[in-house]
Amino acid sequence: MSIEKKEFKPLIVAFCCNWCSYAGADLAGTSRLAYPAEIKIIRVPCSCRVNPMFVLRAFQRGADGVIIAGCHPGDCHYTSGNYFARRRMTMLFSMLDFFGIERERTRVDWVSAAEGVKFSTVMNDFSKKIHELGENRRLGDLRCKQTIDR
């Protein structure tokens, strides 16, 4: 019996703030700047709306990487949201690292509405990292995973 090795298709959740990064993603689309289809965007009003619980939830349900994109520091539509997000996510990522979760699975980047090219570059780069890391086996609810071969 031959066991066909299933090609690893990662799942990446991107939280994008409505004002900068989501618009940056729109611009990437308008400019036809491709990035992998495994990246699915969730629109949030501001990067500060992203509760660390959402990030953990994504990992629980089988995400292999989570990226949060917001306005550049200083450009937040709500003045200070991304500054809070920056502290929270730094702490969350550090904690995940402390628990032995690969550092590269989480990322925060600042993408403005004018940076379609950057959006696509960041997403391609992040996806590449996740491909290199492979499936997220350390964090995640095994019941939510179908592809685990034991």
Partner: protein
């Protein structure tokens, strides 16, 4: 033990004698000499059961959330480390400060009975402290040991004494490789039985309704059903108390499975100190915590990616 050379019990008696408060929050002797537990005394004669010795590790601050809301002024005995929790709760408006008479009492470290037992001392009848030495009465006669060797984990690195480096263990874990860290926490957290003792004792966990009990929160669960939930519970708890945890060490003290939960909180404290400047939650009752404030030139999250430590 004494405060200003007076037995603490005397101070308590004086509170009632001088009518400074209607109730006193202190400790009373439990079934065994080493399981003193928090208690509210409402009259002088109840103080017969009052005790303050080397087994009063529990932090009384949290009980004030309920007790201070009740009728009548309440006096509370606060060891130096409990004072931080008290301040933090006052800061968060969880305790009505006006209704509380805080009494600061001295503490020279609390003893962990399991550590005494671990020295091979059996049949313990009582333990008395004499400076740095403990005198242990056992059914096999008197034994002695150094108090330093049997202190509670949280007392070994006491913030108010020149204790050891409280981040030493955290650093050790940081230096592990990513896989080792993962294995370390798996082996520790897989012991978790979700008894919720850590949450119930934590002075920072005083929510009207805990998210883990609120089925609308999306993360409610009563038991860990898989390895993810074992980690998730402790991660979320650590994040919820981040910037508010005073490092009182109660979580590890009460964990029936002996999981070093305080290390997670200490990791957070260490990071907060390194990234955003030294901060001791509860050092005062008004300052704004590090996760509810920011600086324009804060470190970027990729510092986690780029700094040292095991990968």
């Amino acid at each position: 033990m004494q405060t200003n050379n007076r037995p603490v019990k005397e101070i308590a008696q004086e509170i009632f004698a001088e009518n400074q408060a209607e109730r006193i929050l202190g400790w009373k002797r439990g079934e065994f000499f080493y399981d003193n537990s928090p208690a509210v005394f409402s009259a002088a004669d109840e103080l017969q059961e009052f005790v303050y010795d080397a087994f009063c590790g529990s932090n009384l601050s949290k009980f004030l959330v309920k007790e201070a809301a009740k009728e009548g002024r309440i006096a509370v005995l606060l060891k130096p480390c409990d004072r931080y929790s008290f301040n933090q709760l006052v800061k968060e408006h969880r305790i009505d400060k006006e209704n509380v008479l805080p009494i600061e009492i001295d503490c020279d470290g609390m003893v962990d009975i399991d550590k005494v037992r671990a020295l091979g001392i059996k049949g313990i009848k009582s333990i008395s402290a004499d400076g740095d030495q403990l005198t242990i009465e056992t059914v096999y006669g008197q034994k002695n040991c150094s108090k330093e060797d049997v202190l509670l984990l949280k007392c070994q690195t006491c913030k108010d004494r020149t204790g050891g480096d409280r981040f030493a263990l955290v650093r050790e874990i940081e230096e592990m490789s990513s896989v080792e860290r993962y294995e370390f926490w798996r082996s520790e957290l897989s012991k978790c039985i979700r008894c919720n003792a850590c949450r119930n004792v934590c002075p920072a966990c005083t929510c009207e309704k805990c998210v883990f009990d609120n089925d609308k929160s999306g993360i409610a669960n009563k038991a860990n059903s898989d390895s993810f939930e074992e980690s998730l519970y402790h991660m979320i708890r650590a994040f919820h108390v981040a910037g508010r945890c005073t490092d009182c060490g109660e979580c590890s003290r009460v964990c029936p499975q002996g999981i070093p939960l305080h290390l997670i909180n200490r990791k957070v404290i260490k990071d907060l100190n390194e990234f955003y400047g030294e901060y001791q939650a509860g050092a005062d009752d008004s300052s704004v915590g590090p996760l509810t404030s920011y600086e324009l030139d804060d470190v970027e999250p990729d510092i986690v990616m780029n700094r040292g430590g095991g990968r």
